[in-house]
Symmetry: C2
Subunit: 312 residues, 2 copies
């Protein structure tokens, strides 16, 4: 039986990954400090004999016996990671170091969930894995961006120095059920706003772009990378690009045609566009996303409506 550690497993992505792994029969250990995640996200797994939940902060040492480590623990939304930047970069660097130390001791395979933010405000478009990025090292977003870059670096150094089996995925904007309601990311904001009759908040002029991936496509991609023979890094994202204004239109159509839009000031160093080149994952892993934005949004509406206690 495959013993799998999922750090950050009570978060948005982690909870979907845990569900997938439990269903396929792995023995899953979910580790989380509940900073942005919650027990509710994994409530449906608590009764299973092949699922275990541990409250632990990855900045501290952790002793377990496992075969695979999916390392997700890290706040991911700008609102959350800017809340305590020192803690964010400590989580990214020291958390990754500890999980690599654990992997080294147990000879487990280790997968790091890195991010498209390692490309910063990219000068190359779409972004391929060989692009080195355009990242402000000392700005407000740097705790996250530089934290992840340092975590990637450390991961490759453990591979080179200790012959560890490592995997790196660079995740592009992902959405779906279980996103925290107070998360502040654009899709969860728009969906919650549309459901509760608040105006959709567009930051800046709404011309900046992102490419949105539904969470099941991401989970499928992560598992392929973990179980496959290649280190990566692999871009895992949906290459269909939208401006924030276009996204607002789609949310209106799918969730609430009467929703209005307000414009707010944008935040510092906001990347102006982002779109993954996924040829590498396509070619080497046979992976590509399947869920279109409209379909994915409909699937997340019922979860959000229930948690927001509104009728749809």
């Amino acid at each position: 039986r495959n013993r799998v550690l999922v750090t950050g497993g009570a978060g948005f992505v982690g909870s979907h990954l845990c569900t997938y792994l439990v269903e396929r029969g792995d023995h899953v250990i979910c580790v989380d400090n509940f900073f942005t995640g919650s027990k509710e996200n994994v409530a449906h797994l608590l009764g299973k004999t092949n699922f275990e939940l541990i409250r632990h902060d990855v900045v501290e040492k952790l002793l377990l016996e496992v075969d695979q480590i999916f390392h997700l623990a890290c706040p991911a939304s700008p609102v959350h990671y800017k809340y305590n930047p020192i803690k964010t970069i400590k989580t990214s660097f020291i958390g990754t170091m500890n999980m690599l130390g654990l992997a080294k001791r147990t000879r487990a395979r280790f997968l790091l969930t890195s991010t498209s933010e390692v490309y910063g405000d990219p000068l190359e478009h779409p972004q391929t894995e060989s692009y080195w990025g355009n990242v402000n090292p000392i700005g407000e977003r740097s705790c996250y961006d530089e934290g992840k870059r340092a975590a990637e670096c450390l991961t490759f150094d453990y591979q080179r120095e200790h012959d560890l089996e490592v995997r790196v995925v660079r995740i592009f904007n992902t959405y779906g059920p279980h996103m925290a309601l107070d998360d502040g990311r654009v899709v969860s904001n728009f969906v919650a706003q549309a459901l509760t009759g608040q105006p959709l908040t567009i930051y800046g002029d709404g011309q900046q772009t992102r490419s949105f991936q539904y969470v099941s496509d991401l989970v499928e991609g992560m598992v392929r990378v973990m179980d496959g023979p290649y280190t990566g890094p692999f871009n895992i994202g949906n290459p269909t690009e939208f401006t924030m204004l276009e996204l607002a239109q789609v949310v209106k159509e799918v969730v609430n045609p009467n929703a209005t839009i307000v414009y707010k000031e944008n935040t510092a160093d906001d990347p102006s566009r982002r779109k993954p080149d996924i040829s590498k994952a396509k070619k080497m892993l046979g992976w590509e996303p399947k869920v279109a934005l409209r379909d994915g949004l409909s699937r997340m509406v019922s979860d959000f409506a229930k948690r927001l206690d509104v009728e749809v």
Copy 2:
């Protein structure tokens, strides 16, 4: 009396800084693990009442009472920092975190010695402080480059979160007496080779450029930044640019006209050119370098000849 901690104080730059500070009357505490530094570098200070030497690794916690911290501890030569990349990035990140923690507790002013390597293989030339860099996050040099970028990020986050007084200098290639003989950097290699009748080793085609600063100019710049009112980052370097081939010619002229040249394969991700734009330091601090390459080289020859036991 000003109590000053100099981490990495037994290294090349650190030993010159300690000498300067002891001479001006500060109480200097030099902390070093002697990975690349040596007691010989500070031997002339050991008898002074205002100098103290502590063997300590900055990856471990350190409790001291001080007013200023010059944080230099980190291997700086590619040969040394690639020797154990995991240790290098731990030193950079955790070492800086510990010294920031110390600064926070004592309310000391903290100066980080960052590097021109944060610009990577720069696409902007010369480099200004606002340039975000072109750095490979997962290559062989990344432990140093990304380690320093993460250290800068952490430093600014301590300033923003805890109102700490911080200073950041980005040092460009520096040379002078006390460079380790086995250091592998280009100036120490060429000078040692010219003195011992070995051919000067040029890596690659010799067309890559660097701008070389004599160590006394750097010490002057660092002290100005520390004692001045501005956070930085400040580029501290000499803007006169040389190809490695030109450098070899100058070393021949100054040290040994009979020296020959051999070409060797270059290392991965070697930056193709580097030259600081120092307008910011000039304008805000009234600082600029004074020692030309020929003069600096002559000054380091006697130190190298003595340590290599050759006559000049």
